[in-house]
Every structure is written in C-alpha cells, then in structure tokens.
Amino acid sequence: MIKSLRVKILINGEIMSKISLEVNGRKVEKEAPDNTLLSTFLREHLQLTGTHIGCDTSQCGACVVHVDGNSLKSCTALAADVNGSKVTTIEGLETNGKMHPMQEAFKKLHGLQCGFCTPGMVMSAIDLLQKNKKPSDTEIRDWLEGNICRCTGYQNIVAAVKEAATKM
C-alpha cells in the first residue's frame, strides 16, 4: 500500500527521495538517497544516535525500533520504504524526563552492562509486552532471540522484562 507519494530529486547524480516520517511524535521531512537505510537515516540525518548499529546484517538487534507499532531491525528497512510511517526510537520512550517502565526495570535489575545492545533490547521487549502482557521466561527468550547481548548472559534482561510486565 502506498502511504504517500514520494518525490524524486536528483542531486549530484544520486537519486534522492523526500522522506516524511513521524519520529517520536514529531513530524520530520528530509531528503536522502534512495538506498539510505532507516538506521542510517535515524542516526545520521536526524542525529538520533540512540539507535545503534552493531552488525548491519540484521543479526544483532541493536538497531530495533518500532514502525507503526511493530518492532523491526532498522538496518533491514530502507528509509524511503517506510515513508509516511510512525517511528518510535529509544529516545521517544521517556515522558517528561521520566524513564519508561521497561527502562526503569533494566536499570533496577541490572539488565545491561556495556549498554550497546540495550536500546534494541528495550524496544523489542516493549513490543513483546504490547502483544503478550504476561510472557513466560521461554516466551521472553524466544522473542529476544534476535537481540544479542555479549555481557549479561541474559538472566537479568529476562528478569527486567518480567518486572516491567508487572508495571505496564
């Protein structure tokens, strides 16, 4: 389904598209080359560097954001392809300077060490609780199989998601 018309612009021989998104509740409009990944668009065009790029091959999950309510790996999507969508990144979770319950739970239960995978973990975990309010340990681990953490050993991440489930 075409959500909105894309405008093609040619700059220095590169095919550019005008990309209109609603990011964290704010409307944004930028020109970017057609092959710009959503992860690159967020980080380099919008300076939202909370979305991390770990592998660039859709394995590690550090780049997970929500597009129209579903979690996806933003290095898998072209920015032009999600034109017209609502995007939520890790920066969009706080309310008036107060952390999201999932962030609080990760902090409280030490669900992170170096923190590189954390934005993706948090975004994936929130989507899980949107779809399954009381997930079991197995369901949490299954849902997070595409989010790789090399520090924690996952125990505290699973504990944090369970804690957040009681608060959300």
Binding site: S58, Q59, G61, V64, V67, N70, S71, L72, K73, T76, A77, S124, D127, W143, E145, G146, N147, I148
Partner: protein, 173 residues
C-alpha cells in the same frame, strides 16, 4: 511453508522481511529459496516468468536483470511437504535446511545452507521418488567436495546434516 516462515530469523526480521526480498537476495542460507525449488515455483517479474530451477544462479546471484522486479511467486501444491533445518545456535540461519516435497510422480529435495546456492539433490530425489520413506536415504553418503566449510560446520558435517534433515522432513510428511 507457514512453519518455514515462522522459523526465519527472529520476530523483528519477520516483521519486516518479505519472500520476494529473500529470494532476490539469494543468501546461500536463506530458507525461502528451498521452498521455491521444492514446490516448483514460478517467479513472476515485471518482465517475464522464470522457473525457480533457472532463477537461483549462484551465491547471492539470480536470473534477475537490472531493473527487473519480482511481483509474484506461484507455487505448485504438493501432495505432502516438510521443511526441516539445523539452525545456527546464535543467529538461527540454516546451517543446513532441507525442504522435501512429494508431488504426483516425483519428489524434490531442496537443500539450502550446504553449498554456495540452493539446489535440488537429485540422488535423494531419485531414491525418494522410488520409495517415499526415510529408510531409502538412510546412511546415504553424499559428496561433500562442493559443500561449505566454516567455523560452524565442516563440509562433511554438512553432508551428514543434509541426510539427517531430509530424513526428518520425510518422517514429518
């Protein structure tokens, strides 16, 4: 095929990935290409129709020309079919995946992950076309000389996995 789809990558990949994108990329370990080979698919593009057997050319290479786009994929409905894979423990791609489909008359055994590109294993297809039972391929010694070999699985291990997964698929049919 729906259970194959359910086993691809992870939820965040499945929320975005498409079957057309998967087969156009033709990753040697992708799941969907095996379904196309096993189910005698026809790939419809904006220019022509291509048989799956002529579509997958080699590692990350397909018959698609510049500017050609996949618009639809048509599958032959088999009498029975099953896809079984041995996933990489960390990232879940198929170290070896085998899609067995029993059609009226013959059997396809499409293998992904084992070589540089998906293929139909003629030796197992022939054996299973004669007798559709896992015993007819039990202990089959496949040639591993063209199989992938890396830190996750040697060529010989992959050859053995192909037979194991094919047997599991036949038993699950």
């Amino acid at each position: 095929m729906s259970s194959l789809a359910e086993g691809i990558g992870d939820p965040q990949v499945r929320n975005r990935g498409t079957i057309g994108g998967s087969i156009a990329n033709n990753d040697p370990s992708a799941d969907y290409p095996s379904a196309c080979i096993a189910l005698n698919a026809t790939i419809h593009t904006n220019e022509r129709k291509i048989e799956a057997a002529k579509f997958f050319k080699g590692m990350f290479e397909t018959a698609l020309k510049k500017g050609e786009l996949i618009e639809a994929i048509e599958f032959q409905i088999p009498e029975k079919s099953s896809y079984q894979k041995h996933p990489n423990p960390a990232s879940r791609y198929a170290i070896v995946g085998v899609y067995v489909a029993k059609h009226k008359g013959d059997v396809n055994v499409a293998v992904t992950g084992a070589k540089s590109c998906v293929y139909n294993d003629k030796e197992m297809s022939k054996a299973l076309s004669g007798n559709f039972s896992s015993s007819s391929i039990d202990g089959m010694d496949l040639d591993s000389s063209e199989m992938n070999s890396d830190m996750h699985a040697s060529a010989d291990f992959r050859a053995s996995l192909v037979v194991t997964q094919a047997k599991k698929a036949v038993d699950a049919c």
